[in-house]
Amino acid sequence: MNASDILTPKGLIAAAVILLLAVMPVLTTIADQAFYLDIATRILILAIAAVSLNLILGYGGMVSFGHAAFIGIGAYAVGIPIYYDEYSGWLHFPLAIAVSALYALITGAISLRTKGVHFIMITMAFSQMVFFLFISLEEYGGDDGLLIWSDSEFVDGVDVDDPTTFYYLCFISLMGALFLVHRIVNSRFGRVIRGSMSNDKRMKALGYPTYGYKLTAYVISGAICGYAGALMGNFTNFISPEMMGWTRSGELIFMVVLGGSGSVMGPIYGVLSFLLLEEFLPDFMDLFSKDAGIYWHLPFGIILVLVVLFVRGGINGLLDRWNR
C-alpha cells in the first residue's frame, strides 16, 4: 500500500476504521459506556484470530475448519498456569504461542498431505480431538469450563486488568499481526504460498517444495491465533471447551469471508460486522416486536446465505468495486 492508495474511498475507510479503533477507549469514556469498550476489545481479539486465518485461507487457499482450537489452546495456556498460581504473562503468552505452534506443526504435517474437502474435514477432526480432550480433563473443569480469577502479570505498573490498558495491548497486537501478515504475503515466501494457491502443480514444477512452505504458513497462522487465544483468556474470566467447538471455527471462517478473504483489511471488516450484528441485531428486532430478539439467528443465517450467494469478495470486494 502506498500513499496514493490511501486517498481513495477504500483507503479512507480503512484509515477511518483503524483510527476509530485507536481512539475507542476515549470515546467510550466520554460517552460513559464501558460496555462498548468490552465489545470493541472482543472485536480486536477476534480480529487477530481472523487475520491469522486469513493468512492461510485467503492467501494460501487452506480452508482450516479447526482454527477455534488454537483460540482454545491459547486461552487454556493462560487458564491452566493461573490454576497453579503462576501469574506471569511472560510465561502465559510464550506458552500459548509455543503450544499452538507445536499443535499446528503436528496436525499441519498430517493435514497438508490432503487437499480440498479432505483438508477441511481433517482440520475439523483435529480440532474436535482437542475439544474432547479438554472436555474430559476433569482437573481443569472439563465440560463446565475453567474460572480464571486473575490476569497475566507483566511488569509492575502495567496492569492489564485495567480495561483501557488491556484494550491498547490488544490494539497494538492487532496492528502487529496485520503488519506481520502484510509483510509475509508480500515477501518471496508469501508469493510461493499465493502461487501454490492458484496452481500448486506449477509451483512444484518450478522447483518449490510447496509442502514445506504451506506447513510453515500454517504454523505461523496457528501461533498468531494461539496468541489471540491468550488475549481471550485474559479478557474473559471464564473459559470452556465450548469456545473451540466446530461451530466456532465455522464462525471464524465466516468472519474472514464476510470481510473479504485474501485482503489486508478484510478480516477486520468481517469481525466488525459479525460482532456488531451479533450484538445489535437482537436489540433491533426487539424494537419491532417484544422478545423477537431471541430469534436473531434467523435473519443472521439469511444474511450469511445471501452474502455467500451474492457478495463475491466480501465487504472488501464491495469497496473495490466502489473504487472503480
Partner: protein, 307 residues
C-alpha cells in the same frame, strides 16, 4: 467379562452405526454426485424428528406419524435444494460450508420459532416399549431391535436401488463421472434434486427413530452430522457401501471405546492413569481413526471407481 453387558453394548454400537448410516447415505451421495458439502444435512435429522413428534401427538400413533413425516421431510429437503443448494454447485467448497452453515442457523431458529425452545418427547406405543428375553439374564429392548431392523431394511433397499435399478445406475454413474452422464443426455439436476430430497428424508427418518430415546431438541443434528462426515470420509466419498461399512465401524468403535477402553488400557498402564486417560481417548477415538485413514489412504476405504 459380563456377557449381558457386552451384548447390550454391541447392540448399542450397532444402533449408533445404523443411525449414522441413515445420515451418511444421503450425505455421501450428495457429496459424491454434486461435490457438494452439506453441513445442514443434520438439520433434516432434527426437522424430521419434530415433524414426527407433532404428528404422533396429533394422530396418537407412532408408526403413522413416522410414515407421514417422511414425505414431509422429503418436501423440506426438496425446497432447501431448490432455494439454496442448487445455486451453489458451481461454487467452491468454502462457499458450500458457509452457506449451509447459514442454513443450520435458519433451521435451528425456525424450529425454535415453531416448536419452542423446549425439547419434544415422543412417546412409544406399548408394543415397542418392552423387552425381548433371549435367555434368563439377557433382555433386549424391543425398540432398539426395531431401530436396527429399520436401518438394515433401508440399507438393503438402498443397495438394491443403487445396484439393481436404472435410477441407481444413473446415481453411480453421476458419482464417478458427472460430465459424461450429462453428455449422454441425462438431466443430472433433476436426478440430484431427487437424491438430495431422498437423502433429507432418510436423515429425517434417523431423527424420528432416535427421538423416542433422546427426545427431539434444537441442534440435535449438529453434533451427529460431524460424526456422519467422519463416516463418509472413512468410507470413501460417494460410496453407499463405504458409508455402511464406515458407519458400523464408527458406531462400534465409539460405543466400545466408551465402555471398554479403560479396561483395555489397564492392561498396559496403571489403573489410575487408565481411568483418567480413557474418557479423553475414547471421545477422540473416531477422529484419531479418521485422521489416520486420511493420512494413509486419503480416498477412504471404498472410493467409487473412476473419477
Amino acid at each position: 467379562m459380563d456377557t449381558a453387558l457386552l451384548i447390550t453394548q454391541l447392540l448399542n454400537g450397532l444402533q449408533l452405526g445404523v443411525l449414522l448410516f441413515l445420515l451418511a447415505a444421503g450425505l455421501t451421495l450428495i457429496f459424491g454426485i454434486m461435490d457438494f458439502i452439506n453441513l445442514a444435512h443434520g438439520s433434516f435429522y432434527m426437522v424430521g424428528a419434530y415433524i414426527c413428534g407433532t404428528l404422533v401427538a396429533l394422530l396418537d400413533s407412532f408408526v403413522l406419524g413416522v410414515i407421514l413425516a417422511i414425505p414431509l421431510t422429503l418436501a423440506v429437503g426438496y425446497v432447501a435444494e431448490l432455494v439454496v443448494a442448487r445455486t451453489l454447485y458451481a461454487r467452491d467448497h468454502l462457499d458450500h460450508v458457509l452457506a449451509t452453515f447459514g442454513l443450520i442457523l435458519i433451521f435451528d431458529t425456525a424450529v425454535h420459532l415453531f416448536w419452542g425452545a423446549e425439547g419434544m418427547a415422543i412417546p412409544l406405543p406399548d408394543w415397542l416399549n418392552g423387552q425381548i428375553a433371549v435367555s434368563e439374564t439377557i433382555l433386549l429392548p424391543t425398540y432398539r431391535i426395531a431401530i436396527i431392523s429399520v436401518g438394515l431394511a433401508v440399507a438393503v433397499g438402498l443397495y438394491v436401488l443403487v445396484t439393481r435399478t436404472r435410477i441407481g445406475m444413473l446415481i453411480r454413474a453421476g458419482a464417478s463421472n458427472r460430465t459424461m452422464v450429462q453428455a449422454l443426455g441425462v438431466d443430472i439436476k433433476r436426478l440430484f434434486s431427487l437424491v438430495f430430497a431422498a437423502g433429507a428424508a432418510i436423515a429425517g427418518l434417523a431423527g424420528m427413530m432416535v427421538s423416542p430415546i433422546t427426545e427431539a431438541s434444537i441442534g440435535m443434528g449438529n453434533d451427529i452430522i460431524i460424526v456422519a462426515f467422519v463416516v463418509i470420509i472413512i468410507g470413501g466419498i460417494g460410496s453407499v457401501k463405504g458409508a455402511f461399512v464406515g458407519a458400523l465401524i464408527v458406531g462400534m468403535i465409539d460405543t466400545m471405546g466408551r465402555s471398554y477402553l479403560d479396561q483395555f488400557m489397564k492392561l498396559f498402564m496403571s489403573d489410575q492413569n487408565a481411568e483418567t486417560a480413557a474418557p479423553a481417548v475414547s471421545a477422540m477415538l473416531i477422529y484419531i481413526l479418521m485422521a489416520a485413514i486420511l493420512a494413509v489412504r486419503p480416498q477412504g476405504l471404498f472410493p467409487p471407481r473412476v473419477r
